[in-house]
Symmetry: C2
Subunit: 263 residues, 2 copies
């Protein structure tokens, strides 16, 4: 059953840079489909539009309207393709309405230099056996967010008190993460990984699934096979909006992706 | 002389969402015009296209080709305008070539709730009298970056050792910042402020002005009049690219903008 993910993001070219797809209700959360899932569908179409540059490096998404299960199109346009970098545009369109609009930079991550110099340290998530599996989520949560059944997520219990009405107040949610169907992570599925956890504001005692306005993901490396560690933090709630930042670490302790967003 | 900035970013509507502008050589750095200046020109056109929503909130920019002094056009398109938020697209075009492409969310920051909950702390920049003024920059630096003469910048000396061949190695550059012509900061000029300092990699002993691929700026509040504090950091250099993050604090100790980018 390793093809659940491949099926969910499959796109078919119909010419002029347009791709057809069928959005799957299994990735719903609340009244619309998960934003990271939409990004991965667009990301997969952009990958198909750029055969020699398979990997998103910077992926800026603005959310316009709620995507629903059913047929949709991805309109792609190559703005520049030179050297090792291409800049592209993607629009997820459904029933004549734009759902998300994306500007992205693509490259071949495997073809870049291996040099890494970093002072970043891996997300401090406890060992998996000390974490709370998403399979313990309430039926209520599962009805709101059926997409939770598409992942194995193991949550740091220090930031899950909100589920029992006792949020830590620190503005952190972090978990081990993998696709349930066994597909190893790649640069496109990282676009999902940065938007799969519950809103970080739950840990501040603020319930409710606020719609994301803008989300920029950066992919730093093709992830090693195995579990990812995903850490979301917010430092700033202002003007009725909040920031939600995220880091993703792979099984080789490498920072493979991050996210910065306004919700 | 408070109109140098207003002149530099002035746009004239010519219909169909298109604006004419004249890019000014005074904002050049190396072989092209400063990216933050280009963002502010596009940001000013988008502001003009949205009379009731003057303030960029999320501003995602992808850089395609080097902008030069001279005539240019900004093509704007409103993707969605409903409630308190609008999503818009802007393209800076010169001689038939796209220079930068922007997706942005606009609103009226003054009309949002005043609630602020934050754990962020102001950039730790020494008092102004302990900092190094940009007016001390070498003639060499000034030839490369004439835009430095458009600002007053007072640099934290702890991260200016690179100018004497002794970088701190920490990956930080920070400074007090204001426009030289006395224009107080606003939401559009913050787009310039997040991209005005020398590359943070100078502090890692890596010289050279690398072109930015992607830069997303978030504006959190209309800044109070007076000096801004701008702090750039990098934690991660990988694959021949690096991240460059930035925070901007106003004279009232409020986090008013941030930037995340891939260079």
């Amino acid at each position: 059953m390793t093809d659940v993910w491949a099926q969910a993001i499959a796109v078919r070219p119909i010419g002029d840079g347009i791709f057809e797809t069928t959005l799957d209700d299994g990735w719903r959360v609340g009244g619309g489909l998960n934003g990271g899932y939409q990004m991965a569908v667009v990301g997969n179409a952009l990958r198909a539009a750029l055969p020699s540059k398979p990997d998103p490096i910077a992926f800026s998404t603005h959310f316009l309207s709620a995507a629903l299960a059913g047929p949709a199109q991805v309109h792609t346009r190559v703005l520049r393709d030179g050297g090792s970098i291409a800049t592209v545009e993607g629009r997820l369109v459904q029933e004549g309405q734009e759902r998300i609009v994306v500007l992205a930079t693509y490259s071949d991550l495997a073809g870049l230099t291996d040099e890494v110099a970093t002072t970043a340290v891996p997300a401090p998530i406890p060992a998996r056996e000390s974490c709370l599996p998403s399979s313990m989520a309430s039926d209520d949560m599962r009805r709101i967010a059926p997409l939770m059944d598409r992942f194995d997520m193991l949550f740091d219990p220090a930031h899950m008190g909100w589920a029992m009405g006792e949020p830590s107040g620190e503005g952190v949610i972090q978990a081990w993460f993998r696709l349930k169907d066994g597909t190893p992570p790649d640069a496109v599925s990282l676009l999902l990984a940065v938007d799969a956890l519950p809103p970080v504001t739950f840990d501040l005692g603020r319930p409710g699934w606020a719609p994301t306005l803008e989300l920029t993901a950066h992919v730093r490396a093709v992830p090693a096979p195995g579990w990812l560690r995903v850490r979301h933090v917010t430092r700033n709630v202002a003007g009725g909006m909040f920031e939600e930042d995220c880091e993703v670490w792979d099984s080789a302790d490498r920072l493979v992706a991050d996210r910065k967003s306004v919700v």
